[in-house]
């Protein structure tokens, strides 16, 4: 049975290398965003934690901040550790890339970049993966409520075929009324501009 690796033990391993790089909150190990790659490398190489397998890498938009979630697995010791990193900058969230630590982070980081707009510094090939370059906005962010350009029945044509079908200029995205199931934003949520540029 796969056991959960003790977050406190992991914190000690990380902080032994770089003090203050991690903390434990509610049984979850949080890493400082600047040193995520180094901390996880320490966890991978340490004999005790032995977290050699990146099981999952994804992000969650918590409206005030992004949470990048890593599930690290040790195959031989058969334990799993959930690691998180918080990013508060919604305009240009940046995180060091894990590709140097795990080759398996390659496509998962591209996916997160594509759908959340989180840049991974040091990623050798950070491009959009599912959506095309120039797609306006990042769909898995909570402030992305509707496809820009409104959905029209019957597919009048492809955007590149005529001006009429083209995607609208960013900023003119019509906002849809809230659905009961939509998460109700609390407080002052920072809503990012959909800047459809294909940067990076």
């Amino acid at each position: 049975m796969t056991t959960r690796y003790d977050a406190t033990a992991a914190m000690e391993i990380v902080n032994a290398g770089t003090p203050g790089a991690s903390c434990v909150d509610g049984g979850v190990l949080f890493l400082e965003p600047e040193s995520v790659a180094d901390s996880i490398r320490t966890l991978r190489d340490s004999e005790e934690s032995d977290l050699v397998f990146l099981s999952n890498l994804t992000a969650v938009d918590h409206e005030r901040h992004f949470e990048v979630v890593y599930h690290l697995q040790s195959l031989d010791r058969n334990h799993i550790l959930q690691v998180k990193a918080r990013l508060t900058d919604r305009e240009d969230p940046v995180l060091p890339s894990l590709t140097g630590v795990y080759h398996g982070a390659h496509l998962q980081e591209r996916e997160v970049y594509d759908l959340f707009g989180i840049r991974f510094e040091g990623h050798p090939d950070l491009r959009r993966m599912f959506l095309w370059d120039g797609f306006p906005g990042y769909p898995l962010r909570k402030d992305f409520l509707q496809m820009p350009g409104q959905i029209r029945a019957g597919l009048p044509g492809f955007p590149h075929e005529s001006e009429e079908n083209a995607w609208p200029v960013p900023g003119s995205v019509p906002q849809r009324p809230m659905h009961p199931n939509d998460p109700q934003p609390e407080g002052d949520v920072v809503v990012a501009e959909d800047d459809g540029e294909a940067e990076a």
Partner: protein, 434 residues
């Protein structure tokens, strides 16, 4: 005007077209009585060509049905069974569909060269039929260099394929064409050498002469030179683009190879010629190695063309069988098989044929005794050569067996992997290896 009573001797029985050449001779003589020589040649030539076309056209339609039906039986399904009785009209429906389809040409294609190949590919495909002997005097052109004609004409098809692949301006087509050229040129060598064995041994380059030699000596060449037969069969299936050597139109790699960009009836023509070539090559394999229209005296009772068709059908079935069963070889594997296995082996048998022929001629050996001995010797030599090849030419990765072990209680990562690998017990599954 010759007497019409002679016609009854021309047609021995209603089904027996054995003496068609008599009819042809009658017509020639009749024209020669009043007309110029060239007219006789033209008339007989046109008649022969019409005869070939009349045979080939319907045969292609039936072959499409046969191929699909047989393949589907190999694959545990019914195959075409909706159009007509037993799906027999399916090829007609296919042809109608292909004719009605829009014929697309890529904008960037080299138009003239793009339009020509579907037509040109028919030329060698039909010409080859001219030298196939359906009976002792039943071939359109009984050339005394028939073997040479066959090889020369079949070699031109690759030019048409290259035209198709180049002019399509498509990378898949170009890859297919380049592969086809490389493969055809390579496989022509063992093909020529395999036929050279027969030519050396029988002392004639006439295709009918080779059949008559087999009839005279009461032996079929596959018994005398089995390796040449196998080499010719494989080389022919490579020239025909059929699995295991269909790399020039390898579906899973380059979509349809050189005819990727052809649609509608243009594609249909390529397809039809491919099937027709398969049949005619089966016919030639039957002629060269299985005795053609002759079958130990049975040809006295059964029309020769029926015997040839039966043998052709058997070879054709074998071709469908290999196609339905085997995966495809890679291009480098095909090339190395050709140059490292087939060419030396067929060369060896040219030498063997030369030596044996010399023994018969100069030592005056009685062929009824010598031929069986030589057959046994050659079969043993063939088996030896195949076993030697299997042992020596095996690529390195194949020499070790592939093993599957059971992890048992070792579940985990790299450390567990080392534990599993170091266990001494027998692997669960072990396949391949020397």
């Amino acid at each position: 005007m010759t007497d019409l009573a002679g016609l009854s001797s021309v047609f021995g029985a209603w089904y027996d077209f054995r003496d068609l050449n008599n009819l042809q001779r009658l017509i020639t003589e009749w024209i020669a009585e009043w007309g110029p020589d060239w007219l006789a040649s033209i008339v007989t030539g046109v008649l022969g060509a019409l005869g070939i076309l009349a045979v080939v056209g319907p045969t292609l339609l039936i072959l499409i049905w046969v191929e699909r039906k047989v393949i589907s039986r190999f694959q545990q399904r019914y195959g075409p069974n909706r159009v007509g009785p037993k799906g027999l009209l399916q090829p007609v429906a296919d042809a109608v569909k292909l004719i009605l389809k829009e014929q697309l040409a890529p904008r960037a294609a080299d138009k003239l060269i793009f339009f020509l190949p579907p037509v040109l590919i028919f030329v060698p495909g039909i010409l080859i039929w001219g030298v196939l002997p359906f009976g002792p005097r039943m071939s359109v052109a009984d050339l005394n260099v028939g073997v040479l004609f066959l090889l020369a004409v079949s070699g031109t098809a690759v030019l048409v394929i290259f035209m198709a692949g180049w002019s399509s301006n498509n990378k898949y087509a170009l890859f297919g064409a380049m592969r086809a050229v490389a493969m055809s040129i390579s496989y022509e060598v063992p093909m020529v050498l395999a036929l050279l064995t027969l030519v050396v041994f029988s002392g004639t380059m006439s295709i009918n002469g080779i059949v008559e030699w087999q009839q005279q000596e009461d032996v079929i060449f596959i018994l005398l030179f089995p390796l040449s037969a196998i080499a010719f069969f494989f080389a022919a299936s490579a020239e025909l683009n059929r699995t295991p050597a269909d790399i020039s139109e390898a579906e899973s790699e380059i979509v349809a190879g050189y005819h990727t960009e052809y649609s509608g009836m243009r594609f249909g023509l390529f397809y039809a010629v491919e099937l027709g070539n398969t049949l005619v090559v089966s016919g030639f394999i039957a002629t060269f190695f299985l005795g053609g229209w002759w079958l130990w005296g049975l040809d006295q009772w059964v029309p020769s063309w029926i015997i040839l068709l039966a043998k052709t059908a058997a070879v054709y079935f074998l071709l469908i069988w290999t196609r339905g069963t085997l995966p495809r070889l890679r291009i480098d594997q095909l090339m190395s098989f050709c140059w490292k296995a087939l060419v030396p082996a067929t060369l060896l048998f040219v030498v063997v044929a030369f030596v044996e022929r010399t023994l018969i001629l100069s030592e005056g050996w009685d062929t009824t005794v010598a031929l069986p001995i030589m057959a046994v010797f050659n079969i043993a030599l063939t088996l030896g050569a195949i076993m030697l090849f299997a042992r020596v030419a095996r690529p390195a990765p194949l020499r070790r067996p592939a093993r599957i072990r059971m992890a048992g209680a070792d579940i985990g990562g790299l450390r567990a992997a080392r534990d599993v690998a170091s266990r001494r017990e027998e692997p669960q599954l072990q396949v391949g290896g020397d």
